[in-house]
């Protein structure tokens, strides 16, 4: 990686409207080479639309920039050659086997030594035992592996993943992310959208979208620090009861239960302390903890909402 710092994605003012609805609204985004950039945001915040514009599947209504050095408007065909796009929904052929699907993709990209490349990819993704199974018979986790295999087969320089792990179990997700990190280590740039906070934490940088705009971006620690949130955690006692009471008190922005522990977040330390003291429950022990990324995002979103 001689050219560290070079931006693989560099776009400004990206806009996309569907009828009267503005789905992406003046988005600026840069992603450096070799970076894993997490794309977060609620449903309908413009993640999929942005990714589709990056790989030329949608034409932006405004904005400019480059993706892999090609203009996003005029260079769509060149971008497609060098990028791998994994759709949200499984979009390979149900009635072809794992091998046939991959072989098809390799042929479309006119790969030399196609047979070796496909066999190598099957090996790498652990698909060897499923090689001759029809895609329709694969479980969600295996389908997702097949999709990833298919979209990295042609050695793309950029990987665009649209909620790749939706509906996949925890183990498969973990393995999937290990693969992504391995590939990023080899110089691949990854832009991945997700709803899972644990996945966001595995990204080098996260970008949080709301209503087609970037609300906050940076490393996980930066985002948490920028939020200025203070969080307390309580264990022991009736955490559900405490959460119900705390939620309505001044100074408490959120009070969420995670199993046996209660997580309370806010920006005003004194007000929070007062609120916690007023809800006295036996056997409950409080400690200050680092804010979770999720808390930070929810906070950012509500601040953003209040500003407008």
């Amino acid at each position: 990686m001689s050219d560290v710092g070079e931006n693989v994605i560099d776009i400004t003012g990206l806009v996309k409207r569907f009828g009267s609805r503005t789905v992406v609204d003046g988005l600026d985004l840069t992603v450096a080479k070799g970076e894993i950039c997490g794309f977060l945001g609620a449903n309908g915040s413009g993640k999929t639309t942005t990714i589709r514009m990056l790989c030329g599947l949608l034409r932006p209504d405004a904005g400019s920039g480059t993706c892999l050095g090609h203009d996003i408007i005029t260079g769509a065909v060149a971008i497609r050659r060098d990028a791998g796009y994994m759709t949200q929904r499984f979009s390979y052929y149900d009635d072809l086997t794992v091998f046939e699907n991959l072989d098809f993709v390799a042929s479309v990209y006119e790969m030399p030594n196609r047979r070796a490349a496909v066999d190598g990819m099957i090996e790498r993704m652990g698909l060897k035992d499923r090689r001759d199974q029809l895609a329709v018979q694969l479980s969600g986790g295996w389908k997702q592996r097949l999709s990833l295999a298919a979209c990295v087969l042609h050695n793309p320089k950029l990987l665009l993943l649209d909620e790749p792990t939706a509906g996949v179990d925890a183990k498969a997700r973990r393995e999937f992310w290990d693969l992504i990190h391995d590939m990023a280590g080899e110089g691949l740039t990854v832009l991945v959208s997700t709803h899972y906070m644990d996945e966001a934490e595995r990204c080098k940088r996260v970008v949080y979208l709301a209503q087609g705009k970037i609300v906050v971006q940076g490393t996980g620690a930066e985002v948490a620090a920028k939020s200025g949130l203070i969080t307390f955690e309580a264990v022991g006692g009736d955490v559900d009861l405490a959460a119900r009471k705390l939620r309505h008190l001044a100074g408490v922005e959120s009070a969420a239960v995670y199993g046996l522990s209660l997580h309370v977040a806010g920006t005003n330390r004194a007000a929070m302390q007062a609120a916690i003291d007023s809800v006295a429950i036996d056997g409950m022990a409080w400690t200050e903890v680092a804010p979770r990324l999720e808390d930070a995002f929810i906070h950012m979103l509500s601040v953003k909402g209040n500003e407008e």
Partner: protein, 375 residues
Amino acid sequence: MNGFSWRRLYALMRKETIQVARDRITLRFIIVLPIMQLFLFGFAINTNPKNLPTGLLAAQPSKYERTIVAAMKNTGYYKIQILRSEAEAERDLRDGSLLFVVQMPPNFDRAVDRGETPSILVDADATDPTAVGNATGALQGVIPALTRDLPANRRAQLKQNPAFQFVVHARYNPEQLTAFNVVPGLICIVLTFSTLFATTLSITKERERGTMENLLSMPVRPIEIMIAKIVPYVVIGYIQVLLILICSTLMFGLPIRGSVLLLLAALGIFMAANLALGVTISTLSANQMQATQVAQMLIMPSFLLSGFMFPFRGMPDWAQFFGEIFPSTHAMRIVRGILLKGIGVSEIIPELWPMALFAALIIAVAVYFYKETLD
């Protein structure tokens, strides 16, 4: 407890009704299609075709000939034009531009006056027996028309010695077997069905299954997708063609008078045209339901206006014009021509290029409207 429930039935029916009403385009087809087809076919179809193209070969112009020709025209079945040579007559009959050739023998008038009962030879293209049946039947009514012109002495002996007679030659299908007409037509119909519907759902299926998004994100050109959807079905179509030809020859005794290779080549173009039409329908349709509706809308006229079920010549000019657009009309002429008349390359070219042009234009439409983005 879980028996039949009227409330559930009502809920399900309401849901279906809402879904049908939401698909505006399909709804439009449901309403417009039957009305359009009723009018189209109601006015176009005529099982008793008139004004059939007829050529006249006469050694020399004569008085009686004029009377007979006038009487033939009066039946309404014959539209008569003068031919210059027998070669011209033969050619026009083979390529289908004439359905009848009327041959007056030399010295006809003198032969009639002498009481010889000369014969007027009528060559009829019997590949479609229904098309020429009524017209040949009407010939008997023409004979008395000459009576008034005859000298009195000749008129007296008409009982024993008619003035003249028509001798009808049912060409290409002398036994006037309907199967000889129907089976070649069926070859085209069967192929239209199997090819058109093979590709009609091809693109909509990719779209509905979500695989289109993936295909679009790969470096694939629209024309590549189109051709790839068509070619495998041409191969399948050829298997069907061979099966049909073998069965037709064995079961219906259908002759193959022309070149089988020429037939196969022509049918290849025909199948490609239908497959291209299917791909285009699929490209323009939003969903599989719509695609099926459009295909049905096109397949009906391509049967009814092609000369398969009803004589092509019997249709009004505007209907013949529409008929000429459909590949099945041309394919039907080619198949009947090669099988029954043994026609060759030069005679099928006028039928080949309209099919090829159709295929090229329709695929251009598909490529033009094919979206390379999801917009």
